[in-house]
Point group: C2
Chain length 387, copies 2
């Protein structure tokens, strides 16, 4: 299997972009990544998008967007795994280069979520859960995560304050990210006293609806060396994708994210590292409880200790294992198909030492973790600087 | 790059399956392919589906269907390229094995198209075209293909009778396919005098709305040899994926399918063959004119000769290059995400000599060609029997 490097990254300014279309924001991100890589053509392309059909009434995004970029002709594949679509797009692009079928691949993620009504967006997002067994009987997405939060509180004594600290930390980080949707601090009181969405999750416990796109350029190692121009070389050292039972009621334990653990174990084994080696991580904090459960599933903290570790500052910018320096889904925004790719953008910037005020000092090895639905799918990548 | 073989194939009985759900028909096909391969677990899975969101209100099909099969845990990727989704799922499964990340991969395609109204199905299919520049101004999908047919008639003198012969041939073949949706003959007169959909295309010039699923099991060559049990070994010798301008008005020539030609050239080069070597082909006859343009784009006949060659019987079962022995999309049906995988099912059966009354005698090398939209994406695979 060939080595695969990330040679360029880019994203647009995320937010509620009423005056821009899906193809426009996608092109902004793609052009930024190509410029950063210093290439003007690629051998293939992947597009992560959860639901072009339901959000904007447009499928066939691979061909459409290759054309939009002036690259009609290249192989283009759209992949989907709900909110993990971007991470899966990265893994599929990895396969293109690793197999030898392509040398340079443009990996992208995009979601345009504000071109439909709020009800339509909520219904579109709910297609990440089991329609027949969860959504049709009346469960909402925040409702499913609220049940997971309740189970975690019951099993481990996790508190509302600890969960709120995830939002406080990620908003504090996002202030320093020029592409983030919400560049403002929030306090524990504001999170706790926000409008209740699904008890114990208030509106500030949830990631927002976002329009956004992100892109990275992958290449084989030789091409990466040729184009490095003195910048640190970032390699994808480990790749893991896994699934879990789709519906919550089929899982033996609501407090465990088995797909995250399985994906991480694959990625760690492939990279030859343990969780202790990871110096910076971008994880899927779609709800505050999710980040707490994820840092446990990744092995950053012991089972049940996600809440106390967060409250103790272990995952803060100066902490033992900084998590979501970009602001995470909470502050940066969560255009579902783009999120997994944007995580790779952030960790690449961190490993290059180009993350500005949110830089994790001396980071040489990092991780991205992207998740679909209530954890029925998860993708983990381990990235490292190589000589 | 590792060699990749097809070691199992399966599909359900296609049709308007009012009493079966997407997950049920998918599971029928998946279990049939696993049984045919003689395996009960796989390392990864791909799902080709055009629009789970618009047809049945369910995305996240990778995780959902892995779970449905009792295989929650495995990496599962859903891919989409409109009506070429199945072909792209096959290519993505190929990458999993070729890269070395997996040894045994279940490749599947599915579409459940009758759980919504006819208007909703028509709208869902139209998302394969450019919504902003083609569909919103009023073009229908048959209307776009009718324009391509008109251009072909004007440029080359292709006749309505020649186009009708595509339907006659494919329905004649489909009679012998136990899984086909319409197992009955049609005559040139019936095609010509059918209800007009978009002049010159009548209702019998168009492929139907279909519920269906198909699956193949891929493996590396060593695993394939171990499981062959005396059956011929079928290898994926060539793989090609390409795109073209999305909207018809941006193409220099409405009578050329550039993505088909580009995908075929890649697949031929990788397999080390020329079009003359192909002994049996399954191609994307979504409309009768499409098959005529495709056999030209693949190099089976000279430009402009698709009509006369069809009328002369060159593509019939006993002809020079038999095309769509399965019945094609016209007779077998066209559950859009499943079609590309079902093409691989048929060519594998042909190369194994297991195609019964529709067997192409002595076929050792075959081709599948799957297409999205009006040809904005196309996937070609060359399959061959190896010693």
């Amino acid at each position: 299997m060939r080595d695969v490097c990330i040679i360029g990254v880019g994203m647009n300014d995320w937010g509620e972009l009423w005056d821009l279309s899906l193809r426009t924001i996608w092109t902004q991100a793609a052009l930024a990544a190509l410029a950063d890589a210093g290439v003007d053509k690629v051998d293939a392309m992947t597009v992560g998008c959860m639901s072009g059909g339901l959000f904007v009434g447009q499928e066939h995004l691979g061909a459409l967007l290759a054309d939009e970029l002036g690259m009609a002709g290249i192989p283009a594949t759209r992949v989907e795994s709900a909110c993990a679509s971007g991470g899966v797009a990265l893994r599929t692009g990895f396969l293109e280069v690793a197999s030898g079928l392509a040398d340079v691949v443009l990996v992208t993620g995009v979601e345009k979520m504000t071109d439909c009504s709020n009800d339509e967006a909520t219904a579109a997002l709910a297609t990440a859960a089991d329609q027949e067994w969860e959504v049709f009987p009346g469960a909402t997405f925040p409702g499913l995560y609220a049940m997971m939060a309740r189970a975690h509180m019951a099993a481990f004594g996790t508190t509302r304050e600890q969960m709120a600290m995830v939002a406080v930390k990620n908003h504090a980080n996002g202030i320093h990210n020029p592409h983030a949707q919400y560049r403002r601090a929030v306090t524990v009181d504001e999170v706790l006293n926000g409008t209740m969405v699904a008890d114990p999750l208030t509106v500030l416990s949830c990631s927002p609806i976002t329009d956004g796109a992100a892109a990275v350029v992958l290449s084989d190692k030789e091409t990466a060396r040729r184009l490095a121009k003195g910048r640190p070389l970032v390699r994808i050292a480990g790749v893991g994708l896994a699934t879990d039972r789709m519906a919550l009621h089929n899982r033996a334990d609501l407090t465990a994210l088995n797909a995250v653990t399985a994906a991480a174990q694959k990625a760690y084994a492939m990279a030859g590292v343990t969780p202790e080696a990871i110096q910076v991580a971008e994880v899927h904090d779609c709800f505050t409880i999710a980040e707490i459960m994820i840092i446990e599933a990744l092995g950053f903290v012991p089972r049940g200790q996600g809440g106390p570790a967060t409250a103790a500052g272990e995952t803060g910018l100066g902490g033992r294992i900084p998590v979501n320096p970009s602001g995470g889904l909470k502050s940066k925004g969560h255009p579902v198909g783009a999120t997994g790719v944007a995580q790779a953008v952030e960790v690449t910037l961190q490993l290059r030492g180009e993350a500005g005020a949110r830089q994790v000092a001396g980071a040489r090895i990092g991780l991205t973790q992207n998740m679909g639905g209530t954890g029925a799918s998860s993708v983990v990548h381990v990235l490292e600087v190589i000589p």
